[in-house]
């Protein structure tokens, strides 16, 4: 089996969110970059587990991003995987990113493509669906469990108010949410091995972006909390009813 895992980089979850250049760019000064948690904790770890079960599995990682993504992709390789591909382009547009991944995916004839549920910076939840369309494979999103036996995958996915178990034949594209695997910490051996694993840099295919970011903004600051005394719970209920009209 050949697996492709899509890896993206995102600011550390504690980063201060601010913008520069007249609110048109993310202020990245001093920001720590991490592997998007959904990609690292769930998609990548599950793919590694599948390879551990069947060592004949080929596991490739892909990222669309500039040279500044290399530490992230090396860190991902330290967890596992045979080689990584970086498509040398920086673009926000989901179609652009997914179409680049789909080009590689078609050439590589992968059986299984994993993405994370969403990136925690842009929160699009879009790449998996677009890749699936472009490679013409079924798409199962928001997976919380993933198994494969022979050619058949069994995937539990989130639905509103519950879960549903789906079965399909390879090839498939799956977006991974919490539950698919448990977070792992890279060990020294993995970190050493990652240094010599191939990291191919590929120039992007000619694809037009279909969206562009015009500006960013921060939410208005809260007016401040209204505190109610602990022995006056009735007053909180009154405020919620009469002032906030929330109950």
């Amino acid at each position: 089996m050949k697996i492709l895992v899509c890896i993206s980089k995102t600011p550390d979850t504690t980063s201060k969110i601010a913008f520069k250049d007249g609110n048109t760019k993310f202020e990245d000064a001093g920001v720590q970059w991490i592997i998007n948690p959904y990609d690292e904790w769930y998609a990548l770890v599950r793919a590694i587990e599948l390879k551990e079960k069947d060592p004949a599995t080929v596991l490739h990682l892909i990222t669309v991003g500039g040279a500044d993504c290399e530490p992230i992709i090396r860190k991902a390789l330290a967890l596992g995987g045979d080689e990584a591909i970086r498509i040398n382009a920086d673009n926000f547009d989901s179609y652009f990113i997914a179409a680049q991944i789909a080009e590689v995916a078609k050439q590589g004839a992968y059986d299984l493509i994993f993405t994370g549920k969403e990136t925690i910076d842009y929160n699009s939840s879009s790449i998996g669906g677009i890749v699936a369309e472009l490679v013409d494979a079924p798409y199962i999103s928001l997976a919380t469990k993933f198994d494969v036996a022979g050619n058949t995958v069994t995937v539990t996915r989130e639905i509103e108010g519950g879960e549903e178990t789906n079965e399909a034949e390879l090839p498939v594209v799956v977006s991974c949410a919490k539950g698919v695997a448990e977070q792992r910490i890279p060990n020294m051996r993995g970190i050493m091995a990652a240094r010599t694993k191939p990291l191919k840099v590929v120039e992007p295919a000619a694809i037009d972006a279909l969206t562009s970011v015009v500006s960013y903004e921060l939410p208005p600051a809260k007016a401040g909390v209204k505190l109610v005394a602990a022995d006056n719970v009735a007053e909180l209920v009154r405020l919620l009813h009469e002032e906030a009209k929330a109950i």
């Binding site: 997914a98 969403e118 998996g128 669906g129 108010g161 500006s215 909180l236």
Partner: protein, 322 residues
């Protein structure tokens, strides 16, 4: 040049999030001087003509039972054909589980730019189509211009108020060939008796301050009184005190209810990211320095074990008097 709104349903009924999407789509249509229509795949028991209330003149229905189960690939093909058949240039989804699977898929088929997680009407001045969406898990917004001829947007649940008028929609059967699904549904496990978090107006959430799973009775009681959903912080789900589907935050569900109760939750930045779009936030925490108070509208500094049962009683009193 019309607006087509995808109408999502479960258990034979149109979802609340679709009413919001319909209202939103109809507003966009009014803004650019065109009509809004709905599209429903599969079959429901609801009377679809009543969706006219939300401003759509017509509801297209592809009444094929295969479509009662989500298969993104199949949906994408059918929706793309409906877009072509209806001449729509703007396609609207709700950014719920179905929308997350389908909006992007169909956008690729239509070669349309997609913006998911919209939270306001687009700016359509000067030939632009700029959509405001939440980014950084609710910590900021991006204004994104869609430059393709066809545009696909999905609306964050609970970010747009439903407006119901008295319109009646024409219901029209749409004939589209539907392939067999390549996905088999082996099991469906709905959590019975609970209100799904994404559909709830009120969410009552507990954190590590509640000490253990045995103490969730008072949280559930309060939620029951308020017809609210229950939620929790990540360590609570990680410790299996509560099921994973209740975990909210940057790496859990992102929600925006009208009212969010945070009980015994410190208010870490990753938690706030998933809930700070709630309209009203109430924090109950024994530590006056808990960061959550900075993000709250109302708060009580005190012991949850003392306050939550009292709160439940006071709300019941209010309900009796109302």
């Amino acid at each position: 040049m019309s607006v087509l709104i995808f109408v999502d349903h479960a258990d034979g009924q149109v979802k609340k999030s679709s009413f919001e999407a319909l209202t939103y789509g109809a507003k966009i249509a009014a803004q650019i001087g065109t009509t809004a229509e709905g599209l429903l795949l599969g079959t429901v028991t609801d009377d679809l003509s009543t969706l006219g209330k939300y401003g759509v003149t017509k509801v297209h229905q592809v009444a094929n039972d295969t479509l009662n189960h989500l298969d993104a690939q199949l949906y994408s093909k059918v929706i793309a054909e409906a877009v072509t058949a209806s001449g729509a240039t703007i396609l609207v989804f709700s950014h719920n589980q179905t929308g997350k699977a389908v909006a992007a898929s169909v956008s690729a088929r239509l070669k349309a730019g997609v913006v998911t997680g919209a939270c306001a009407l687009p700016d359509t001045s000067n030939g632009n189509f700029i959509v405001k969406k939440t980014v950084f898990s609710g910590k900021a917004f991006a204004n994104v211009n869609i430059t393709s001829a066809i545009k696909v947007i999905s609306l964050n649940p609970n970010s747009f108020t439903t407006i119901a008028g008295d319109g009646v929609a024409e219901v029209a059967a749409l004939n589209v060939a539907v392939n067999a699904s390549k996905i088999r549904v082996a099991a469906v496990n709905k959590i019975v008796g609970e209100i799904p978090m994404s559909e709830a107006d009120i969410v009552v959430s507990g954190g590590r301050g509640l000490k253990g799973p045995e103490n969730w009775g008072m949280i559930e009681d309060l939620a029951k009184t308020l017809h609210a959903a229950t939620a929790c912080s990540r360590p609570v789900a990680d410790a299996h005190w509560r099921p994973h589907h209740e975990h909210v935050g940057q790496t859990g569900f992102q929600i925006a209810p009208n009212l969010y109760f945070a009980i015994g939750i410190s208010g870490a930045i990753q938690h706030l990211a998933g809930v700070n779009r709630s309209k009203v936030i109430v924090v109950i925490n024994k530590d006056p320095e808990a960061p959550f108070f900075k993000a709250a509208d109302y708060g009580i500094v005190g012991d949850a074990f003392d306050i939550v049962p009292k709160l439940n009683e006071e709300i019941k009193k209010l309900q009796v008097n109302a």
